[in-house]
Amino acid sequence: MAAPLTLLLIVAVTIRAALFRSSLAELIAERVEVVSPITAWKRVVEGLALLDLGVSPYSGDVFHETPLIIYMFHFLVDYAEITFMTFVFGALCVCICFFFIYLSLMPFQFRKQKFALEADRYPMDSLELIRSPKEMYYVPLKVAMFYLLNPFTILSCVAKSTCGLNNAVLALFFLSTIKGNVLLSAIFLCLATYQSIYPITLCAPAMLYFMQRQYIPVNFHRVSFWWFIVQYLFMYLGSLFVLICLSFFLLGSWDYLPSVYGFILSVPDLTPNIGLFWYFFAEMFEHFRLFFLCVFQINVFFYTIPLSIKLKEHPVFLIFMQLAVISIFKSYPTVGDVALYLAFLPVWSHLHRFLRNIFLVSCVLLACSALFPVLWHLWIYAGSANSNFYYAITLLFNVAQILLVSDYFYAFLRREHHLTNGLYLKRKDGSEATLILK
């Protein structure tokens, strides 16, 4: 395991370093698919310059990252050269994948134990669906490969997008959750929320996971249930409070609140990106804006409720679903966000036999990724196409993502169904039955 992993790391770092040194880096850093107004390195540099001049970095509507990020870079840039930064970004990617390696191992060990306890409850023919340790052995390596060699991650890393940092925080949150460390989990979740608000929806799966681990029943009438929720929320909100106050004391003003969170929630920057917001809000009459803003933003948060109810037994899968929903519906998505949840796919490789549209969806995702730069070129440089062309591809890309996620969701539910009811279902008259999703 160690040898291929080392090889993988070397390859990943080499690709990044080579791209970084080439003239492509500047081009990539300008791509709207790769950097958003929040995560663009160019804007961070601008913020740093303003900070050096003693001006609030949030004056001037360019910089939208959080105060902690800018102070972190302020510190780093002071002590090392800019070139060093590249390694920070590279290393971040690597560290994320390392954590993924661990965590992808964990849920299945847990599941296996659970299975050992309840083995006699399952029908015999569903044994085919149980993953053997041999199959699982390579999953972490595949996860690392999916993340490190994913072109999306590479692009986002070469562009020095701070999206890499957000992903790292989310990965740390995931790791500490899987390891069962409640306090760390709450702290990292709070950091992720502090960075981009949306991860707040991950509260639900984290709490469900801990409850499952500590054998606390999910029951509204039980005190232990409420007591745990209060505990977790206290840790979460407490650290959030600390972070916000820390930012205030660092900066000396509340400027950053409207500039970061207001910017995320009210979407004033309509630069095209791979998300759904820009075109709608560019076309919309001003007096409908607030209403549709609410509709679009609720989209991100709302799915937490039905998904948590349906997947309360499977919090790890719920985290995957939530990450996907966030990266599809958030206001300034980039390919870096997409890469984060794509890295989970090898973890669900046991669902492949139940996937229905994977071929179609991967073809569409592939074609869309190639068409983004082409249509951008036609629109912006050649001037012969227009924004509708680009938005059509954005829409298709997001539809494909939604299909992908819902396909995995369906496959997961179907596998659970087969686990309890047997793999080869029979109708009452003895003929083979098929499951239909309506």
């Binding site: 073809c363 592939l366 190639a370 068409l371 070129h377 036609l378 050649a382 098929t434």
Partner: protein
């Protein structure tokens, strides 16, 4: 969504698609070709119409009187050109100043990567002269360009004369709301490139030029004039620009409308318009015109001096005067009037030309085919690739044999194709592509030292040699496959799936940027992608594969193009032409940034090599 979630209907559809895969593919191919050929049939095309309000409804009256004087100026220019042996800069500056323009010059120099044998140039040095007529009626934020090339020999003297004549006449009019820039560029496109880069402060090709001293507003439209005789019989409109980009259709409409109004014969691709669309010969004529446009667009090179303007969002076209043996002649005054009319209408523009189409083909000057009509032809070809990919996917997913220990079998089969067996040919063929792209220019000196060839020949022959050497690759790469011999049947399927999807995406993107190129490549590459497997007869298929490879496509295109222009060539001449076309392609890439050569070398050729690999899969 029923189709996506109902397993029974899905299964039915997929089984139908896999069972009837071959017939559907054949039908799609012929339907695509038929659709394309149908585009030239007049009832299926749209009549051109002026979309831009600012140019449509207003009336202008053309009064340009001084055609004869312009021709006299042209003759004077010719005399000075002959005396100086190049561009008579001082004479031009003085003449433009006399006409009341603000005159500036720009000098530029450029060393070509290797000598251009067609135009006989290697180290190019020249000067552009341009005069700006400041707009009296507006804040000078916008400009129009009229350019005429200063060509070697006796060409285009009349164009420069007419340009100066028009400058003098325009100077005395009061209605100009846009600056008008009169540009005389030396060394055709190289001079144009230098001027445009200087005007827009960009440097994309590493050329050296002196910065421009004077500027007008942002350029809205440009016309380039080519005129080599005192009287003409017809005017030809050239639209195709760099990378197959076309100007807004309204510019063509404007030209056509004025030709109709003034009564000048106008052509496109050198073909007159005919009214007998319902006869076979009429249809043939339209097909010829359209095919010429397709071939020119596919070549990706600028077919007139206007070609580089398009890169900067400037709608531009070249107007060429043709003097043939026809009886009816048009004099310079009339051409001057035509240009005057066009510039007055362009002067009325309130915003950039954007109302009409940017993606179109023209079977005649009065009819066009828009993107919505021609894309299905390409779509039908692309669908074949997707169908084949689906078929392969289904084959890959159905286990070959369900024996007693079925589970173990599936496991084995699923793991054997491995990443490595697909990655190796992918990487190797792309490296060959990189070699094809980079080596010819880099190794020209070495080649010239060791072989008795000129630099240009060296570049072209190296390119052909690398291309041919790539064919030997499968035999060598197969040594590395020994590790995974067991999965070979699945292995080529995976490789083919990757290759087919790769080709589909590649052709799709190409067709969006340059439809003609995408369609021509699809026409040849799609059938080979569809049929090639390791199990077809080797020698015959290898022959077909070579015939349908990008290089042979280019060779056929050269002959076909000559045929379309009614100038058939012998095989010997055709071959020489073919060599010069390759060298021009490489030059266009390094001089103007044309994308066709890198596209073919870095993407299309490696993709074709993948199919070659599949054929020789062991």
């Amino acid at each position: 969504m029923g189709l996506l979630s109902d397993p029974n209907r899905r299964r039915a559809l997929i089984s139908m698609l896999t069972r009837l895969n071959a017939p559907i593919c054949v039908v799609c191919y012929f339907a695509g070709v038929a659709w394309f050929m149908g585009l030239a049939f007049e009832p299926f095309t749209l009549r051109t119409y002026m979309s831009e309000n600012a140019m449509g409804s207003t009336m202008v009256e053309e009064r340009f009187p001084a055609g004869e004087r312009a021709l006299a100026t042209g003759r004077e220019f010719a005399a000075h050109k002959k005396k100086v042996g190049g561009m008579p800069v001082d004479w031009l500056v003085k003449n433009m100043q006399d006409r009341g323009l603000e005159v500036f010059t720009q000098s530029f120099s450029r060393t070509l990567p290797f000598p251009d044998e067609n135009k006989e140039r290697y180290i190019v040095k020249g000067t552009n002269v341009y005069g700006i007529l400041r707009a009296p009626r507006a804040p000078r934020t916008e400009a129009l360009v009229l350019s005429a090339p200063c060509s070697p020999g006796d060409n285009n003297n009349q164009a420069v004369g007419l340009l100066l004549g028009l400058a003098q006449y325009f100077r005395n009019q009061i209605y100009w709301a846009k600056d008008i820039i009169f540009l005389v560029n030396e060394h055709d496109l190289i001079g144009m490139q230098a001027w445009l880069e200087g005007y827009h402060h960009t440097n994309t090709t590493g050329m050296s030029w002196s910065p421009l001293q004077g500027r007008g507003g942002s350029i809205q439209a440009a016309l380039s004039l080519e005129l080599s005789s005192d009287v003409i019989t017809s005017l030809d409109l050239v639209l195709e620009g760099l990378n197959g980009q076309l100007p807004n259709l309204d510019l063509a409409n404007l030209f056509y409308a004025f030709c109709q109004k003034i009564g000048v014969l106008c052509t496109i691709q050198g073909k007159l318009q005919r009214n007998d669309w319902d006869s076979v010969s009429g249809y043939n004529h339209a097909v010829q015109t359209m095919m010429l446009m397709v071939m020119k667009q596919a070549s990706g090179r600028p077919w007139g001096d206007h070609g580089l303007f398009l890169r900067y969002h400037i709608e531009a076209a070249t107007i060429k005067g043709v003097n043939s043996f026809r009886q009816y002649k048009t004099d310079a005054t009339t051409i001057g009037r035509l240009l005057e009319g066009m510039y007055r209408k362009l002067n009325n523009l309130l915003e950039r030309l954007h109302q009409s189409y940017f993606f179109y083909l023209m079977p005649s000057l009065s009819h066009f085919v828009s993107i919505g009509y021609y894309m299905p032809a390409f779509g039908l070809l692309a669908v074949i690739l997707l169908l084949r990919a689906l078929d392969l996917w289904v084959q890959l997913n159905t286990p070959p044999s369900t024996t007693e220990d079925g589970v173990a079998d599936i496991d084995q089969v699923r793991h054997t194709p491995g990443v490595l067996s697909v990655l190796t040919p992918l990487v190797i063929s792309h490296l060959t592509g990189v070699a094809l792209y980079a080596l010819p220019i880099r190794f020209q000196e070495t080649a010239v030292e060791h072989f008795p060839v000129s630099e240009t020949e060296a570049v072209v022959l190296t390119a052909i040699a690398i291309y041919t050497a790539g064919l030997a690759l499968p035999h060598n790469t197969h040594r590395y496959y020994i590790v995974c011999v067991c999965g070979t049947e699945q292995g080529w399927r995976v490789l083919k799936l990757v290759a087919v999807l790769y080709l589909a995406v590649l052709l799709g993107c190409t067709a969006l940027i340059n439809f003609s190129l995408g369609f021509i490549l699809a026409l040849t590459l799609v059938p080979l992608a569809a049929f090639v497997t390791p199990h077809v007869p080797k020698v015959l298929s290898a022959f077909i594969l070579v015939i349908l490879s990008p290089a042979c496509t280019l060779l056929f295109s050269v002959f076909f193009f000559q045929e379309l222009q009614d100038m058939p060539v012998s095989f010997q001449d055709g071959w020489l032409l073919y060599l010069s076309v390759i060298s021009q392609g490489i030059l266009d890439h390094s001089l103007y940034g044309s994308l066709v050569y890198p596209l073919i070398a870095l993407l299309v050729y490696p993709c074709w090599l993948l199919f070659w690999n599949i054929l020789f899969w062991k």
